[in-house]
Structures are given as C-alpha cells and as structure tokens.
C-alpha cells in the first residue's frame, strides 16, 4: 500500500508528460512564470503581458473593443451554422431563410446572427468613439488607429454583403441602391470622374458591362451572380481579411504599450 502522501489528481496531471509538453513552464506563482504563461501561448501572445488596472475599468474602456471581438466570434459561429442550411442561389435563398425560422430546430439562429450583426456595428462605433475620446489614437498608437479604421470598414462591408443574402425585396433594392455608389468610382466606375477619358476612338473602355460595379455584381443588375459573389465575400473573403487584421490590431495594442492610461 502506498504510504506516500496522496497526491491530488490535478497534481498528477501537472506532472504528466502531456501537461508538460503543452505548458512548458512552472505554475504561475511568480512573475516570471506568469509572463511565460502569456508569452508561450499562441492565443495569449496577441494579448498584452500585463494589463494596467485602469485598462480594466469599464468606465474607461466600455469594453467596446472586447465586445466587438466577442460579437465577431458569435457571428462566426452562428454564420457557420447557418451555412449548413442556406443555399446562395436565387431559386433557394429566400425559402431557405424562411425554413431556417420555421423548419429548422433552434429557429432563432438567424435572428441571433442578424441582431449580433447590428450589435457589432454599434459596438465598433462605440469602440472608435472611446478610442477617440481617450486620445488613444495618439503616438505611438497611430498605426493601430489606421488598422482599426480598416476593421471598421470591413465590419460595414460584412453588414452590407450580409444584407443581400435573405434575397427579399428589401435586400434586392438596398443592394441595388448601395452598389450604385460603385458607378461613381474614379476611373473604374462608368459614371465616375475620369471614366469618360478612357476611350479608344468612339469606344468607351469603362462602361456598365465592365466597371467596378459590374465586378461586384457579376452583371449589370443585382441577380443570381451578385448573390453568389456577396455570399462568398460575406462568408470567406471579408472574414479572412478581418481575422488577419484583428490579429495585427490586438498584437499592436501589446506592442504599443498596452491599453492606454487615463488622461
């Protein structure tokens, strides 16, 4: 019979090779190991090693950036689940949306995705307002402010591309109106400044059949080609770019000295 003092299950786990192969430092009971816990973790290493007390105050940060990231994760998970049922063709898209509500278990999945999207847009604006009001865009954080602006634009583009997918009248006309802006792109839109200059003899090089709006919609008007392109951009293209920029954004918070202190 074992006479040695009984070790807890957790202690045994801690001594196992599996544990030590994953966590290559001792228990976080001193400053060095606490730092190593962050430095040796691929997810945590994007996060500052230490956070100032002021950075945790809700009154200072509003947790708007964290909320935005949380909502991005919510959108990713619910969006992935919606992809199991939704077919991005003009034949099925609208009826699949109706079926997601009435025929599929947990019929609020689409509503979570939709409300989460609205909340994310609000949260990202609040985050921008907070960063502006606390002067956190100032050196050395100017670069991260610019990354943030790109992420804001990507959030709005996610919102815009997702708006077409229900394929109802509201979606059709909202995207018709929205994509008309692309007509006015300088040189690349057929009604944009400079487009009239790009012609060979009497033949215009930039017209409704080959301009920026055409590339976006895969046609001269919002049709099934536009639905597919918006779907791919919404589910793969934009989230991928946003994820890379988010990694840069979080990592730069750390590199630029953590969350800014109070003024």
């Amino acid at each position: 019979m074992a006479e040695a003092p009984k070790k807890s299950l957790f202690a045994l786990l801690r001594e196992s090779q599996v544990w030590n192969s994953i966590f290559r430092h001792g228990p976080p009971d001193n400053t060095r190991n606490r730092s190593l816990a962050v430095l040796t973790n691929v997810f945590l290493h994007l996060h500052p090693v230490k956070v100032r007390k002021s950075g945790l105050r809700l009154k200072y940060t509003w947790c708007a950036g964290g909320t935005t990231f949380f909502l991005f994760l919510v959108e990713t998970v619910t969006g992935l689940l919606l992809m199991f049922y939704y077919r991005p063709t003009s034949e099925y898209a609208f009826s699949d949306i109706l079926d997601l509500r009435s025929q599929v278990p947990l019929g609020i999945m689409r509503e979570i995705h939709r409300w989460g999207a609205h909340a994310m847009v609000i949260a990202v604006w609040l985050h921008m307002l907070r960063v502006f009001m606390t002067g956190s865009y100032k050196p050395p954080r100017e670069f991260n402010w610019n990354i943030g602006v790109l992420l804001l634009v990507l959030t709005l583009l996610l919102s815009f591309t997702g708006y077409l997918l229900p394929w109802d009248q509201l979606a059709m006309w909202a995207v018709t109106v929205g994509s008309n802006m692309a007509r006015a792109t300088p040189f690349l839109g057929n009604e944009g400044p400079g487009a009239a200059l790009l012609k060979v003899g009497d033949i215009s090089l930039v017209h409704a059949g080959d301009d920026a709006r055409f590339a976006l919609l895969a046609g001269r008007f919002v049709g099934s080609g536009a639905l597919l392109r918006f779907y791919v951009l919404h589910c793969v293209g934009i989230p991928l770019v946003a994820a890379v920029l988010m990694a840069v954004h979080f990592w730069r918070v750390r590199k630029d000295g953590g969350i800014s202190g109070p003024l």
């Binding site: 006309w173 109106v177 055409f214 046609g219 080609g225």
Partner: protein
C-alpha cells in the same frame, strides 16, 4: 574576389575544386538574379491580371443590350407601354408624335418607377420621386429626368432599342435624332 585575394592567388597543390561555382562572377550572378526577378515579377503580374480578368465572365445570362420592340403601329399614342419593363427594364412611350424609350431606373437611387395610369405619371416606390410622361422629374428627391435609350427603325420596319447609348435631357441630348423616332 576582392574580399579574399589569398584564396585565389595561392597556387594549390590539391586538385582544383569542383567546376560548379567556378566562373561565377559577381556581375554574372547579379544579372542572373536580375533576370530571375524580372521574370518572377512578370509572371506574378500576368497571374494577377488574369485573376482580375477572371471576375469578368465571357457569357452573361442577362437580356441582350439591343432588342427589337415590334412595329410602331403596335403602340397607342398618349400611352406608356409596360410590355418590356420586366424583361428589358424600359418604358416604351408614344406621345406627342414621337416614340421614345425611357430607362426604367429612377435617377435618385436606382429603383424601378411605376407608371400610374390614373395619375398619369411615373412614381418611384422607394422615395416617391415623380416624373411626367416625358420622363421629366417634378416631385420627390430625383435630381434629374429619367434617361432615354437610343431608338431607331430597323430595316424590317421594327423598332430597334439600343441600351448601350443613353440620352440625358439635362445635357440637351433629347434633341438627338436617335433618341426618338417620329411616329
């Protein structure tokens, strides 16, 4: 070579090193690297342009840009004809001795206006812009009249509508003889 004069100057009793690497001068190496980079950049450029071209399909499953719209006699004077509204996005109008083709796209934000027979005007359902039968705007947010498409008589006497050319009233283009046909 200037880096290490001893290595090449000293006569060596051992057999000469392998031929590979011999005869490679700094100038030769750099020009080959230059050729390599130019080819690589060229290939990358061609691949990028081809990928961009990939987004513009060769065949479109859209109605053709030009179509025949029947004979002038088929249209009643003083009426807006909706028969090609769904398929080609145009209003055929015969009024005041001419036939013209209005583009069924509101000049405010691009919705499709409806012809209201009782009120004798075009009305956009999105934001309420109103247009006379001529296409001139008179109410709501639309900043300019509806556009007209090129329209001519084909050899067989049918009306030929050409959607690749647009005529704008505010530019004085409705005077153009191809923006209407006399009927």
């Amino acid at each position: 070579m200037p880096d290490d004069p001893k290595a090449s100057a000293a006569p060596s009793p051992v057999p000469a090193p392998p031929a590979a690497g011999e005869g490679v001068t700094r100038r030769g190496f750099l020009s080959w690297i230059g050729v390599a980079w130019v080819s690589f950049s060229g290939a990358l450029g061609v691949a990028s342009l081809s990928t961009l071209r990939y987004f513009f399909p060769n065949v479109l499953f859209e109605p053709p840009q030009t179509f025949k719209a029947g004979f002038p006699d088929e249209y009643i004077a003083g009426q807006v004809d909706n028969r090609f509204k769904e398929s080609f996005g145009v209003f055929m109008v015969r009024d005041a001795g001419v036939i013209y083709v209005l583009k069924a796209v509101c000049t405010h934000l691009g919705c499709t206006p409806n012809w209201l027979e009782a009120e004798f005007k075009f009305k956009c359902p999105c934001h309420g812009s109103g247009f006379y039968i001529s296409g001139i705007n008179f109410e709501g947010p639309a900043p300019r009249p509806l556009e007209r498409y090129r329209v001519v008589l084909a050899d067989d006497g049918q009306i030929l509508v050409d959607k690749t050319r647009i005529y704008r009233e505010e530019k004085g283009e409705w005077q153009d003889p191809e923006s209407f046909i006399v009927a």
